[in-house]
Amino acid sequence: MAKIVINQQRCKGCFLCVNFCPKGLIKKSRKLNKRGLNFAEFDPSGGCIGCAMCAVICPDCCIEVYK
């Protein structure tokens, strides 16, 4: 079972990862980070396949992928 870890304080909320996750496991948070932005949140229950599409498109290198 794979998983990703998002650096939520560094996320700028472009949500490109949300658009490219083939499983739809990343969503916009309702909370704000210290920049005052909504950030990307990972849902670990949905069966992440570790394809790293989110990390490849993240412009701020906020995502680490474990498999």
């Binding site: 472009c14 490109l16 490219f20 790293a52 599409m53 412009p59």
Partner: protein, 242 residues
């Protein structure tokens, strides 16, 4: 559980000043990953441009120099000739490489300098406020072409990669895009090829990267990627040019 995707060693663990969804962050990471994979971090010298990426040296964990606007390839030529054993590359935007630096770009390419160029084309001047660049598409609205670029008034988008490919001193020219994860991976392969060419002393290599600028295109980050795919790639077709 093994970590399969992580921050490259050549990329400092800091936040960048780029806008949300900007392609510079992706391009910086690709350069850093390629340098790590080739194992040349200790002998790489990057030349930062003037433009949005002006403080790229704050993000890359290897030696860098700054150059005056457009003069990155002239500075790179000097550094490479004095230190031929080092890997020297420039990272330039379209305003830097294709407008004020056209002279330096064409002559460095024509001399066949053994350099690598990462050319970020976002069809606009980002740092100064979204003015029209030489690469701005016909009909594209910018702060200095508020009714869209018109060929009668402003001429056509400058295809500098195709122009450089005509020169005998140029070894490798490829145009890639950052519009999807698949294209980002292809872009990384092209950048790696350009660095390998330099390490193998094959001559001047340039990779043009079509990169999103959501802020000055007036679009969301995802819309900007779709605009690259649907509009920009028609004017600037992807693939190997030379």
């Amino acid at each position: 559980m093994e970590k399969i995707f992580f921050r490259a060693e050549s990329l400092y663990d800091v936040s960048t000043h780029y806008c949300p969804g900007c392609g510079h962050g992706i391009a910086h990471r690709l350069v850093a990953e390629v340098i790590d994979e080739l194992g040349v971090r200790e002998k790489t010298i990057g030349i930062a441009p003037v433009g949005c990426a002006v403080v790229a040296y704050d993000y890359w964990n290897f030696d860098c120099s700054e150059a005056a606007h457009g003069r990155a390839l002239a500075v790179a030529t000097a550094i490479k000739r004095v230190h031929p054993q080092n890997v020297v590359f420039t990272y330039q935007g379209d305003g830097d490489l294709a407008a004020i630096g056209t002279n330096e770009t064409i002559h460095a390419a024509n001399r066949g300098e053994n350099l690598t160029v990462v050319f970020i084309n976002n069809a606009v001047y980002g740092m100064t406020g979204g003015q029209m660049a030489p690469t701005t598409l016909l009909g594209q609205k910018t702060s200095t072409s508020i009714e869209g670029r018109q060929k009668e008034k402003h001429g056509y988008p400058l295809k500098i990669s195709e122009m450089l490919a005509l020169l005998p001193g140029v070894t490798y020219v490829e145009r890639v895009s950052l519009q999807s994860p698949q294209e980002v991976l292809k872009a990384k392969r092209a950048i790696k090829q350009a660095f390998e060419n330099q390490i193998n002393n094959l001559g001047f290599s340039l990779v043009e990267v079509l990169s999103p600028c959501p802020t000055y295109w007036g679009q969301s980050p995802k819309e900007a990627l779709d605009w690259i795919r649907d509009v920009m790639q028609k004017e600037f077709p992807l693939g190997r040019i030379k």
